[in-house]
Symmetry: D2
Subunit: 101 residues, 4 copies
């Protein structure tokens, strides 16, 4: 995993440990938390047209929710012992075969 995403992983692990929150961070609970943030993310633009220019207030809300999604995704991968960037690249490898340019 990249250094700075790995730095984030280490930071989030220490954050959870310092608050004794590790006991809540089972894979199941983290998938629920991530789905909750993904729900907030999709709600930001629910009444917008795809062709609408992005409003500044929408961008700020999107970024807040994107941050939360990444945080729970990095925690989930960490407790599963998964290298996120590696599995994403493997998926893109498969997608390149499935969907030739």
């Amino acid at each position: 995993m990249s250094d700075s995403l790995d730095d984030l992983r280490i930071r989030l692990s220490a954050f959870a440990q310092a608050r004794n929150w590790g006991r809540f961070h089972s894979p199941k609970n983290l998938t629920a938390a991530l789905a909750g943030e993904a729900g907030e993310l999709v709600s930001v633009l629910q009444w917008r047209e795809p062709t609408d220019a992005l409003l500044e207030r929408d961008r700020a809300r999107l970024e807040d929710e994107m941050a939360d999604v990444l945080i729970y995704l990095v925690r989930l991968a960490d407790v599963c012992g998964t290298d996120l960037v590696e599995i994403a690249n493997q998926k893109v490898d498969r997608n390149e075969s499935r969907f030739p340019a």
Copy 2:
């Protein structure tokens, strides 16, 4: 953004461009796609107890969905001009103030 997450961002952008898929990748559409993958992710463990050990077949499905979530998240951040790791670190900064250890 970290080098290797940035490599993934560049790879995904080229992948979309080579297939003329950029026209589908509006922020709104990408939030819907991400929410769809988050739904698949949360469904993997829906009937499991949080205390259950992770089955290998569940882990494989989780990793497949984690990869998809990261792919759409990186695409969404890219089309919004957002640095994912930076906004996540800013969010953790705020969380450290909100939730003292």
Copy 3:
């Protein structure tokens, strides 16, 4: 559709029409709105154990989100011309074949 669910459908249609919100209520937008509420619903119990007794404050939040999910689901079915209870019963018919008791 049942009379009282049908009453709700008619009420929601009139509510949207009185506010000129029908133009926002495309199937695509309503699926995004429903996914947003489903995200809020799943977040209510994200740190709870499945075996935990339901806290009163959690029940109140669940009911608030259940109401929102039903509202968007009834609107979505209405704009699609779908009879919700009928399609659910057809699905249960199929599930009874797929999963014999």
Copy 4:
């Protein structure tokens, strides 16, 4: 609750009981299952424009997912002892105050 939605509730309860699935149907697990189906629902139209006419194959997929969302919502309300249509109507009452026509 309306007769036919109540018929569906009773049917689903019997279906779960006949398969000894009630033990899986905690509120937490049902919210995860519902979020999973909502994710599938939002993914159906993820690359469509809101103004696109609904394709028949999309309608069939939407209806399949709408059925699943209703099924889990009715089960969740049942295990929580909640009258779905009543709480939805109470929410519309509040929305009528919040958003005057």
